[in-house]
């Protein structure tokens, strides 16, 4: 049995996160099942999504125990995506507005 090999963590922690992911997925499904609409719907969807993504990344993919050098190398390029998202939101809205003007007759 080797001692200093890779990421080793107690089994109970994985099981807890597993159960938590099940519960969060059930909640996401219930958002649709009960047909929550409007602001409440988007907020709940995003909260459950980020919680699930955070749990998978930090615990299952062991980001929580990796050195900040790796976390930074992975995180900085990913954060740059916010720029593209913002630009495409503005672009999409503009296209929608001009279609509203030109397709209406």
């Amino acid at each position: 049995m080797s001692v200093n090999e890779g990421q080793q963590h107690p089994l109970s922690m994985y099981l807890k996160v597993w159960i938590l992911l099940f519960v969060l997925s059930t909640f996401s499904y219930l958002v649709d099942f009960f047909q929550f609409q409007g602001f409440l719907r988007w907020t709940l969807i995003l909260v459950f999504m980020f919680l699930k993504a955070g749990l998978i990344l930090s615990i299952f993919m062991h980001i929580a125990w990796e050195r900040s050098t790796l976390v930074m190398a992975l995180g900085l390029p990913t954060i740059a995506l916010m720029f593209l998202i913002t630009l495409m939101m503005i672009e999409g809205d503009t296209t929608n507005l001009s279609r509203g003007v030109f397709f209406s007759g």
Binding site: G6, S28, Y29, I45, M61, L70, A73, T78
Partner: protein, 224 residues
């Protein structure tokens, strides 16, 4: 020289980054295969992000109504009409497979070969059943007349984004199943006894990433 290491471990995040990049050593202290998997996953993040951002863009710009995904993906099981039920089951199957994968990584580092093999096999089977359900979903939608260029329920862009995004994700799951089976078989044969079991953690990173992408697809495509 243990005191140097203690000093490094107690330093702040920026001090660690500084010393990792500046010191005369490998910057990322991990097996190269693991680092390369992370680099690949970052590039894959960009591919899936571009698909999802493209989907966001067309959905913001359309003037026709978007099909109601809650109804499109509903099924009637034993007389009960359940919205989005197939996608919910697929989500649970994928999360279950992520759990068995996490346990496989744990078992591998404890050098429990038989258990690692069984858990990886279970992960692959769950992944294959996910793909099977996706095939069922695609067949159902194609029979209802959904095409990449149009559909009877609403905006034409629904078909193109649906087939592109879920198709690319399904391709990742299928590739993951093959990857899992190859490595699981090698674990069973004892191929990694001398090399060490980092490979199982690396396969795990890939598999959890596939699950991670599904979390975003589920939220943005199916629930939104």
């Amino acid at each position: 020289m243990a005191s140097d290491k203690d000093l490094l471990d107690s330093s702040t995040a920026w001090q660690k980054i500084n010393s990792d990049w500046a010191a005369d050593k490998e910057t990322f202290g991990m097996p190269w295969g693991k680092l390369m998997m992370w680099v690949f996953l970052v590039s894959d993040t960009f591919i899936f992000s571009v698909f999802l951002i493209g989907y966001m863009n067309v959905r913001l710009s359309i003037t026709e109504p978007w099909p109601n995904t809650s109804e499109v993906f509903s099924l009637t099981i034993a007389g009960h009409h359940l919205p989005l039920i197939l996608i919910a089951i697929m989500t649970f199957v994928l999360i279950t497979s992520s759990g068995t994968m996490a346990l496989a990584v744990n078992a591998a580092y404890q050098r429990n070969r038989a258990l690692t093999f069984k858990l990886m096999l279970a992960t692959a089977l769950l992944g294959a059943s996910f793909v099977g359900m996706q095939v069922f979903e695609w067949t159902k939608l194609i029979m209802e007349g959904v095409r990449p260029w149009g559909n009877p329920m609403g905006a034409a862009q629904f078909g193109s984004t649906f087939f592109m995004i879920t198709g690319f994700h399904g391709l990742h799951v299928s590739a993951g199943v093959i990857y899992l089976l190859v490595v699981a078989n090698r674990v069973r044969r004892g191929y990694y006894e001398s090399k060490g079991y980092h490979i199982v953690e690396i396969v795990g990173l890939y598999w959890h990433f596939v699950d991670l992408v599904w979390v975003f697809i589920f939220a943005f495509f199916y629930l939104w």
